[in-house]
Symmetry: C3
Subunit: 355 residues, 3 copies
């Protein structure tokens, strides 16, 4: 694909750009506990907490009576007592008490959301609850396998979630945005093999005998020395980008290092995103010093992405007149993803019209 | 009244929610003096000051020439000199000097507002000036009676003024929002007797042999001991809520304590409110230490109201999609007030159409 | 002209209020160098820098690919490398490199703007580039003449640029807004002779035997002593106001002092303005202490203007309902300027419709 001066029709132009019949990462597991956590997911205000059995639950974060966020109330056992007039809600959303009247309010239920905890992440389903099927949550064994080690983190982005996806699909940005960490020229030059299968986008990049980037110093691989690399990316749903990498240093003992980097982009609103990232590896498992170094590289690198994406969002917000995009070869997979998501949005709209 | 899942039609939905043919509390008396005080009342920018005779006056806070707020100018005797090109305005709004030309500008008058001072408060009429009738200002003798003592204060609220009214009409919030000060369960359980007479909403609550709340410790009444209480509330106009209370400790000498709590809610804009409060009593008159304690309780308690109301306003502003309310028994008087105010708004619109 | 209660039709009412076929001051010369300077001019995001030959250039501050501001990229010689995916742009706007593909992107050019440097200022043309004619930039020899000295500065204003023009056309504000510096009553009383010739607005003010203002103390002229003053103002284009002054102290040696004060008002957006000012003189040339004093007076005085103009803009933004202006005698030249600019805007709209 050469230069394409006719821009793709952007799903970014019309809101919402995110499907609702979806599992999204809502929180890191460690964020949800006894305390009430308020978080907006796909423009839905939610409150998260963990019952005494340890099960994470999510309710609409708004008392149906006079709208105080339930997150401003108090836990009473597994229930939430609204902090304004004391209505009491159970994890199933039913209203167990209206203090000002003898009978509870039958119609006072709050919406609840299906929640599933998988390794370091808590997922939430934003479609109709009865359609929630945990089998649709993509698998990510690297974040749970005891033979692997991992770090993970969270960053809020003041940018549409698709900009996050497009950023990690076009690795030609490595050399320019991340010269001090992951950037080497190979990422710019390599042409990924792209395919779409059952709605999943796949990318494959092979980089034989490529210069090791500065970030591989943590492996004991000298930056600039030649390594064989392979990078496989997939976007199983609009919620997640999974990149697995294999690195082999022919000059050394030929050992293969395996890694996985996961990017979960969850729309908070049309203009803001919860960004959850994780990096897993099968070497130096248990090395907490290495974990800390990787965490630092991730925060530096993804912080550079954050700065760029937020600057782009600011342009989109404040630019007078119509904005056009010029797409080039490295946008191929990003544009494929847009089409996949647009199709999902059309399908959702159609089914909603039919029902 | 049981649970009413069909929401009342909210006057909150369509702006403005406040009538204009009204007296509103504009300021505490102590706020208005020689200095120019800028304040927006019912979405009208006003400047307040006191003439050398001590009379409080209010002018539109905008020079009709090039719009600098007059509050950025200077006093010259009883007049205001605009700080931009020096036009001079008298308390009656007439223009006494246009420095750049020999003749004053006949058409340069600024709007003035009828102002009345009553005890601790300065009232302003936001309708046509010729219709201003001070007799329509509700009486509140407790704030002027030398046999009573009192404290008063001011708080800005980032919420519609009706949320303030509804808050103090539904006392079932006491136990949940103010557990440390005025909250006891009786306020939740008691069913007020409600009536409307000549456009005034009345509530009566009798609480015989009810547990004294923590805040009565200042009376020397042990929190939790049994007292007879009676609470009468009225909303004479959308500007003011007056609650009078009688408290008798049968276990003591049977003496009756009388108190009055006044809440003036003045719309600054549709989304912001000037909240003036006062608490008066007929015991320990002149006890400045007790005054300070009551002031502190008021600030703590009304600060909790402020937090809740502002959180609700934020939900109303940022919630995507249509918002519904579920009303319960304790909302009865709040809903009556909405209907009264809605009727006032319709009457105003009709008379405006007829004139 | 007496009081005119019928307001002029404001071009301020409908956006944009600024013509586009115009040269505007974009920056002080000292602001543009090797570093990339981002600045919005007439609502167009631009990036300014200086090539190695020292020529100032301006490009649209947005990569056509994925919209990162080019000002967040890096210089590579005379080119800018985008900081996201590394596209490289030349000063002529052409794309010299798309790292992710062998061929450069023919359609990837960014818009460039004609730039001219004159003395302390860098001008930019916001119309079609081929129509840019540097001869249309007004002359201001006082800022380049080696026999004169000068100071200049920059201030952002949160107000429409026309408010800046109207401020310096109606000098009746001197006594009220600047009593400590330039204000004396003569500026209020004098009636300027106003004429318009070839679209240029001229004002002439003669003040014979007028009291010297506090600011003339820097000349060794005692404030309050009598001086002959003449002030000639012109607005050659909506970008610039030029005031030249002659001051003679008859009580002294009769020497004439000549000065020039220039105000360049450049719209950033409809509501914000880049304000560039300069003050030149033909006496005490090379006196850096005097320069510092004049700079201080300018910052104090123009800072007072800024405060007033921003307060007026705030009124315009937040005032509910329709706003009317009452114009008086001293507004005559300001209103003439509005008509001139309105005509320019109509002409532009017509030519655009015809083309």
């Amino acid at each position: 694909m050469g230069v394409d001066a006719r821009p793709e029709t952007l799903p970014l132009g019309s809101a919402p750009t995110f499907p609702r019949r979806m599992w999204w990462v809502a929180a890191r597991s460690s964020e949800v506990g006894d305390e009430l956590l308020a978080r907006r997911i796909a423009d839905l205000p939610m409150v998260f907490y963990r019952t005494r059995q340890g099960t994470a639950v999510a309710l609409a974060d708004m008392c149906p009576h006079r709208w105080l966020p339930l997150s401003k109330g108090c836990r009473e056992g597994d229930q939430i007592r609204c902090g304004y007039h004391g209505m009491l809600f159970s994890p199933d959303g039913s209203c167990a008490d209206v203090p000002s009247q003898p009978e509870a309010a039958a119609g006072a239920a709050v919406r609840t959301y299906a929640v599933v905890e998988r390794g370091p992440w808590i997922w939430v389903w934003t479609g109709d609850r009865e359609e929630a099927d945990p089998a649709e949550i993509p698998a990510y064994p690297w974040l749970m396998d005891p033979d692997w080690d991992r770090v993970d983190g969270y960053m809020p982005l003041a940018a549409n979630y698709l900009r996050g996806h497009e950023n990690v699909l076009d690795l030609s940005h490595f050399s320019y945005l991340h010269p001090g960490t992951v950037g080497t020229d190979e990422w710019t030059k390599v042409r990924p093999i792209i395919r779409v299968e059952d709605g999943v986008l796949y990318e494959l990049r092979d980089l034989p005998a490529a210069a090791a980037p500065p970030s591989t110093a943590v492996l004991g691989v000298k930056p600039g020395s030649l390594v064989d690399r392979r990078n496989e990316s997939r976007v199983p749903t609009p919620a997640l980008h999974i990149a697995t990498t294999t690195l082999r240093s022919p000059a050394g003992d030929g050992h293969e290092y395996h890694g996985a980097i996961l990017h979960a982009f969850t729309p908070a609103t049309e203009r803001t995103t919860h960004y959850f990232f994780a990096a897993a590896r099968d070497w130096q498992v248990g090395d907490s010093e290495l974990n800390a170094k990787i965490q630092q590289i991730a925060i530096t690198t993804f912080g550079q992405d954050k700065d760029a994406l937020e600057a782009v969002e600011e342009v989109a917000l404040t630019h007078p007149g119509e904005l056009h995009e010029l797409s080039v070869r490295s946008d191929k997979s990003g544009l494929r993803l847009r089409r996949l998501i647009k199709q999902r949005l059309l399908d959702e709209a159609e089914e909603q019209g039919a029902s």
